[in-house]
Symmetry: C2
Subunit: 318 residues, 2 copies
């Protein structure tokens, strides 16, 4: 496939490395001074890692070209990924340019972290081929991409977009309802804001907040998300028991974030959701699966955790 990348910052360059590794031709464009050189350095930097993950047949850094003009970069592309800075007006202007200069059937994906697709596609001549396709840093390693269609995106093009990203060895999460921040960034922002509050109030240092996460819950979240994790913490009764035991904690000031009311409807959605997604695995199988994973992960991560800084150790003396 002929792919085009508009905007070659950290995310754009991450996409380029992934696309090249999957055996595609890539044309990139960015108006910044020195962008081409930085892009080539970024691809060189990523190459040993994409190589370790496995290159597709014919994959080569030689299949990357850079064009000064956006119109030149996108004109022959089957698929275009936009990654300009997260400023709504700028994204709209650039997307309009892409829309105008590309083939009308080329799929356009935007890496926006939080802007809704219906906003971004509103002024395009061919809005039906536009989706949000939000990746995670480093894009050339992490598999997740959130695909969010806007009101004007056609069902056919959503399917086409999903195939393209799956073809790049990505794990597609089709987000069925538009919302600011999509899904993943809402969770990341919640952690981030709570962390900032803790540091802001002088409760702990950034290093202590990080350790509170990486040596405990952060290990669990590589495998099971917030729901299955709590499902497992409920013992044999699973989420059904968990919500009974920890439901009342939702009223407590354990975060700055206000909780929703735990209605019967929400209770049912969460319990049946967890039972459904267990996908036939018993509590005991889920538990065994988690334990075996955690032991291997713990062994692995000890090689890679940063050393604790001197000052933090000193602080231990009260």
């Amino acid at each position: 496939m002929k792919m085009a990348v508009v905007g070659t910052g950290v995310i754009g360059n991450g996409w380029i490395a992934r696309m090249l590794a999957q055996g595609h031709d890539v044309v990139a464009t960015d108006p910044a001074e020195g962008a081409e050189e930085r892009m080539r350095e970024a691809v060189d930097h990523a190459w040993p890692y994409v190589n370790a993950l496995g290159l597709a047949e014919g994959a080569s850094k030689e299949r990357l070209t850079f064009k000064k003009e956006l119109s030149e970069a996108v004109k022959d592309a089957d698929f275009i990924q936009e990654n300009v800075p997260e400023i709504e007006e700028l994204k709209k202007t650039v997307l309009k340019d892409i829309d105008q200069h590309s083939r009308s059937d080329a799929i356009i994906g935007s890496s926006t972290s939080g802007i809704m697709p219906s906003e971004l596609q509103a002024n395009l001549q061919h809005p039906e081929r536009f989706v949000v396709a939000h990746p995670f840093h480093p894009v050339y390693i992490l598999p997740l991409v959130e695909i969010v269609p806007g009101k004007q995106t056609s069902a056919e093009n959503v399917e086409k977009a999903i195939s393209i990203y799956e073809g790049m060895q990505m794990s597609v999460l089709h987000v069925r309802h538009e919302i600011e921040g999509h899904i993943a960034d809402r969770l990341i922002e919640a952690i981030w804001r709570e962390s900032l509050h803790i540091v802001n109030e002088g409760i702990a240092t950034t290093e202590e907040v990080d350790k509170a996460f990486t040596h405990g819950a952060g290990l669990r979240y590589a495998q099971y998300g917030p729901f299955l994790t709590f499902h497992l913490a409920g013992g044999e009764g699973g989420m059904r028991h968990m919500l009974k035991q920890f439901g009342p904690a939702l009223k407590k000031p354990w975060t700055k974030l206000k909780a929703p009311e735990l209605t019967d409807e929400l209770y049912d959605k969460v319990v049946s959701g967890c039972e459904h997604q267990s996908n036939g695995m018993t509590m005991s199988e889920l538990d065994q699966n988690r334990n075996e994973f955690l032991i291997r992960l713990y062994d692995l991560v000890q090689e890679y955790w940063p050393k604790e800084s001197e000052k933090t150790s000193e602080k231990r003396s009260v």
Copy 2:
């Protein structure tokens, strides 16, 4: 060491398995019908895993005894861990009993998820030997324990408590300021509440929320916490650049959680915190360390992620 465990639910039993594995004598107590049998089953269940992590010399399940009476269980202990349900009045009553029947120099740790130590120690005769010691499920595998002294805890006993938990091969986070939910549960609660809002509003299913985390950010958080992760996402400029680029997003509705004002003081705390905790590693070394870890983790976790359920795949058709 002679250790006592009061309350043998999921967390209490997790502590018992860890203590036995580290070669200690353990006496446990719990008033519930059938508690001893469930406890022994839980220890049997945990044993292959603690065995895989490595047993201390002399470690044996034979060194576990169960007493009906709390007073009998705690009377000779050097160290006592309390794990009764998260109800403040109940915890206070049980802690008073422990205080009364134990040696006055025995360290008492409470597994409370969110109650502040000064509250829990207020009515003890020997409050100076009390700390919150909050672990993470499964306690026999995850290394983190948050140690939070109350107003009346002596500095000497904080050091003693830290040594005891470090002696159990745990990674101690000394929380220097009391706050509801300590540190880790504030982060976990923020994710949990945001997840509940998303499901409550019909944006996504529990499975979709979990996938949004486990296939992206959840992988990163096993190694680097929220601060170092964003430090790395800022490229060469690190957190300094990141806060400039994404600081304005704090005003956006990307989560239900309101953000603090990004003052110069907070900016400095976060930037210098990240630079400090990098502990001499350059951006490029941090980056390489993360990439090598992620590639090995990705390889590992693919064996252990639950399969996606049928229904979710069907939902993909718009």
